[in-house]
Symmetry: C2
Subunit: 331 residues, 2 copies
């Protein structure tokens, strides 16, 4: 009984690589979680980042007493533009990766088939497979963090577009006279609804001398603004309502673009829960009062927040690995 695992079983690993942490998830062949690990991302050099990821994988295996030979596939999500076919990170600004060969290097170390995809798309796979009680086959996952982007599932499959640009709704121009975006354009959606935008609006309110408790937070985070709104801070409530109305309009446009059955929201600010969701629903309900189209189109039950108890990035990376095993099994 030295080795209780059935010889036919193949373990799977999902890795979520962010600018702050590397999170791993090891499961058995039935996708039951066995081990997780979170390490700080080593940003000292592009190679050091890769070494840190490899170390995180090795530590996860060691902690579970599993060897790489027993692993069937590794899935991984990384920020930025990805060459999915060759496993190359085309551009991940925060990781200082430019045309960096991620999966070739990991394959050289572990000898395990490894699959790379953009982190928002990976989280979308996670939501589709592991946080989808009604088995919706047409859904959009909207990631709201430093930036904003959508992952799109059409007919049960990830829709990347020809160049992998499909779903980059954070750069939809929604207010041509709005704030300047990192992309150089003005009034992109993410300048109005990202976590970064919420913090900027909070700071602007403080700088303008508005009566708000937001001045007490240093550094101010988007979560703080939502917490202050929940606690009755009227200045924070105005920000939260504005963000909700803007997101409500953008999500209408998402529904009209993709005819989505479900919209799932994730990322830091969404952890405010109802406080985050309700202003979006309020905007949809406001549209219902004047528009039959809006009543037919925008059903509040279509929108929800991704399960905050699960790291959708790591679970989605696992889905990427599992998809490889399933392709193998079906020839």
């Amino acid at each position: 009984m030295a080795n209780q695992q059935p010889s036919s079983s193949q373990w799977l690993i999902g890795v979520d690589v962010g600018g702050t942490t590397v999170a791993t998830l090891l499961t058995d062949a039935q996708l039951r979680p066995v081990q997780t690990l979170v390490l700080a991302t080593d940003l000292s050099s592009p190679d050091a980042t890769l070494d840190g990821i490899a170390a995180a994988i090795q530590q996860t295996l060691d902690a579970a007493g599993v060897t790489a030979d027993d692993v069937g596939a590794i899935g991984m999500g990384v920020p930025g533009a990805v060459d999915v076919e060759h496993g190359i990170s085309r551009m991940a600004v925060n990781l200082h990766w430019y045309d960096y060969p991620v999966t070739p290097q990991l394959y050289a170390r572990f000898g395990v088939p490894t699959f790379l995809e953009n982190d928002v798309r990976v989280a979308t796979l996670g939501v589709h497979r592991f946080d989808n009680p009604d088995c919706k086959q047409n859904l959009v996952y909207v990631s709201i963090g430093t930036g904003v982007a959508a992952g799109v599932i059409l007919d049960g499959k990830l829709f990347r577009g020809r160049q992998g640009l499909a779903g980059e709704i954070g750069h939809w121009i929604v207010d041509p006279s709005g704030p300047t975006c990192n992309c150089g354009s003005r009034g992109c959606l993410e300048t109005l609804v990202s976590a970064t935008a919420v913090v900027r609006m909070g700071r602007e309110a403080v700088a303008a001398g508005k009566p708000t408790r937001l001045s007490a937070y240093t550094p101010l985070t988007a979560r703080d603004v939502y917490a202050a709104a929940a606690a009755g801070d009227e200045v924070a409530q105005v920000i939260v309502a504005q963000v909700g109305a803007e997101l409500g309009r953008a999500l209408r446009n998402v529904v009209l673009a993709y005819d989505s059955e479900a919209i799932v929201l994730g990322g830091g600010p969404t952890r405010a829960g109802t406080q985050f969701l309700q202003p979006i629903v309020t905007e949809w309900e406001r549209q219902h009062t004047t528009s039959a189209l809006a009543r037919a189109l925008l059903r509040p039950e279509m929108i929800r927040i991704a399960d905050p108890a699960r790291n959708m990035g790591a679970w989605g990376a696992l889905a990427l690995a599992a998809a490889h095993m399933e392709r193998q099994a079906h020839g």
Copy 2:
């Protein structure tokens, strides 16, 4: 030699049904045009509209000396919401059709397999098949008329969405404080860029007493506004520039939604040609000056106007009929 047509050949018919005219196109099996006909749409009753369409088909056949027995398939585009599977017009406001069984009735008369689809989607099929020199397999056709809507081709196939709502970009809210739309919401794209919107802006300029020759046109059309702009009318030029800037932003958002390779524009105002296209390109070039993303994403050569010499509605309906024959031929 009484019948010179090879017995194996099957003629095809495309029908474009609008609120003003019914246009037919008869081709041989090699999709060579043989006969076309344009009749006024009979709007005296829902059944009269159907009778008029059937009469147009019969007259087209008669003029070419072809009988319905020789026709392999009929394709048809109609405005509004369509149940493609059952050939039912769910709602075509201008035709007064609500749950009207179009293809069952035409099949009862002609005994020919008949296929129905929304008119903008049909025109999109026409552009994809007959006005696509580079054989782009990811393109968006944007119809600009009384309303605005997009037809989307992804990986060579029409993308309808689950409920057939995908591409209804005319109801993207782009200016929450903008004009009230027919749909009941405010600031939908079509309230700012449709032919109807151009006429409204022209009339508003006249009513405001602005120095413009637009007051000379009764009734004023969108084409008149473009013609006046081309002739140097500064008030008309401002309208044309505004519409182009708004469309330029909307088409950026289209590219980010679908990762389109090509955007093809059609509908009345687009017949103004360069006068219509240039202000859109000007907005994209304006974005290029500040944004590397815009430079990479928005290439002016991606946008063009559909061939004005062809009725894309009728040709697309023909593509619908031809697709049926091809499915038959391939089992």
